[in-house]
Symmetry: C2
Subunit: 323 residues, 2 copies
């Protein structure tokens, strides 16, 4: 098997590695918990996961071309340094250098969500396209812009920070200090906060019982689950969420003309409960505006197809082409 | 003089041509009114302007490498066809083919504002940078995105249509049918309309006398002139305009992380009267948000430095490098 490479998705709780063949298929997997220790412990855990995959696959070591890694937080792909990660509790870790010593193979790193965007572009929804926006919606919100076949990072590496684009200048206060950032309107915590505010205003909802029973704040996941069961307060909240995300996507489409916007991240696991309100809102906007109509079609907004495998596939493909 | 090329800015009222040397300087100029006739008349006018420049320069014909043209409206640079132009009253005109026959030189065409953006990037405010947004504010509003040194057009050629990004979903109705598009808030006609609405609401302003005297609707230019004289209604209007443009620029910066946003187009001729309210609004936003603060500095928003020469210089440089 020529050109096999290994992709690793390094998360705060687990390390998932996969051997990827030249056809972009994961043919062998390995997984282990992320060591709760020093950066060296974590890097050793990564090396162990990689070695496990090689052994399981039955491949000779020399058949593995290289290793690609998706690392959370701020990463410098050029130097191979993990600059800072809250989840891994590290800063300025020479990931590439140390792992190349441990594994005796060329290693390449990039941010985990950028790597997932790359995987989705090369092997998922984006296959065969030239321009795609990967909108990651979770605790935070970020867009990863693949333009003319390449990830656009921006001169300061800050491109795609759409989470802090102000979408509604009269909206709620964001953690960053501004008012009405997309993240303050449509991230997981923002969805939960909006539903909670409605409950606190005295409105009835199946979520009230849940919040009381679990003695913990409700989550965005629970809001979507209640919406799936027809809870009016939850449905109103998911419609609003869709509408805010649609406003941001409308601007993205008018500015960048991507062939596709892919929704990923934790909130996108709610699937059609997230996608449908977004499409409905965009369709209303397209019905109004003849300019937007030229640029938009409902099928140009899709959910991630690869889910958790996107990062492994994207990481493995760091090896085969400059990104 | 090696590598001299001729850039032509084809407008609805005049054709301006310039011989540009290898250092990016306009060393000889020619200008004539745009013929009010058939597409062939206009193309002949362009050829005449080019021939005039060659003759005036004293250059031998073979010393001119090629001709680049900035054409209003929708243009296909690959085929060299002017697809549609309201100002030139034409559609599907084989500009490149006909001019190459007339002039015996390779000709290259692109949209006039894209060409101005290119000129500003290569020879004006953008010199030495890698990523720049050229925001053209006139009757319409469009952004031209130069990312990693290249013009990003989008797969359907619709990138940069920020004029129809919805900035205030409660804003006025746009010509496109949507509510609150940037163009409906901050284009020349929108600025005039906003000032007129204030006057019609019975408010005092030096513009009232002007509107009565000229028996014509007031213009954005007049609003800026009144603002320069301290007229409160006009100042309020230009502050609002700056604030809307700042909202769009805030989103542009968070999404694309450009090193520079350059303001061009007719409204930008109002200079600091336009720039200062934009910067004030962005500085307020940066003071609030620690994320935006990392991406923004006042000097990252500038007025065009080349003005009308940007299109000639940009057109001439179509010749020397793929764009």
């Amino acid at each position: 098997m020529p050109n096999a490479s290994i992709g690793v998705d390094v998360g705060g709780t687990k390390i998932a590695a996969g051997l990827v063949n030249a056809q972009g298929q994961i043919v062998c997997r390995g997984q282990r918990p992320t060591p709760a220790g020093s950066p060296t412990d974590i890097l050793r855990g990564i090396a162990d996961a990689v070695n496990e995959v090689i052994q399981t696959s039955g491949l000779k070591r020399e058949q593995v071309e290289a290793i690609g890694l998706g690392i959370p937080g701020l990463v410098d792909p050029a130097t191979g340094i993990g600059i800072v990660s809250v989840n891994l509790h590290w800063h300025d870790v020479p990931v590439k250098r140390v792992l190349e010593e441990m594994l005796g193979k060329p290693c390449f790193i990039d941010n985990d969500v950028k790597v997932a965007a790359l995987g989705e572009f090369r092997h998922g929804q984006g296959q065969g396209l030239s321009s795609m926006v990967y909108l990651s919606i979770g605790t935070g919100i970020a867009a990863h812009l693949i333009l003319d076949g390449k990830l656009y990072r921006g001169p300061n590496g800050m491109a795609g920070e759409i989470g802090h684009a102000v979408i509604d200048r009269h909206g709620p206060r964001c953690n960053c200090g501004a008012q009405g950032c997309l993240e303050a309107l449509a991230s997981g915590p923002a969805i939960a906060a909006r539903a909670t505010a409605k409950i606190n205003a005295g409105r009835a909802s199946s979520l009230v019982r849940m919040a009381t029973a679990q003695q913990e704040p409700i989550t965005a996941e629970q809001v979507f689950a209640a919406a799936a069961n027809g809870d009016p307060l939850a449905l109103e909240t998911t419609e609003e969420t869709g509408s805010y995300l649609a406003d941001a996507i409308q601007i993205l489409i008018m500015m960048l003309d991507p062939q596709l916007v892919v929704l990923g991240g934790g909130v996108a696991r709610s699937g059609d409960l997230l996608l449908s309100p977004i499409r409905r809102s965009l369709e209303r906007q397209a019905a109004q505006s003849y300019v937007f109509r030229q640029a938009f079609a409902p099928e140009r907004v899709q959910l991630t197809r690869l889910g958790g495998d996107a990062a492994i596939l994207g990481a493995a493909s760091l090896v085969t082409a400059g990104f």
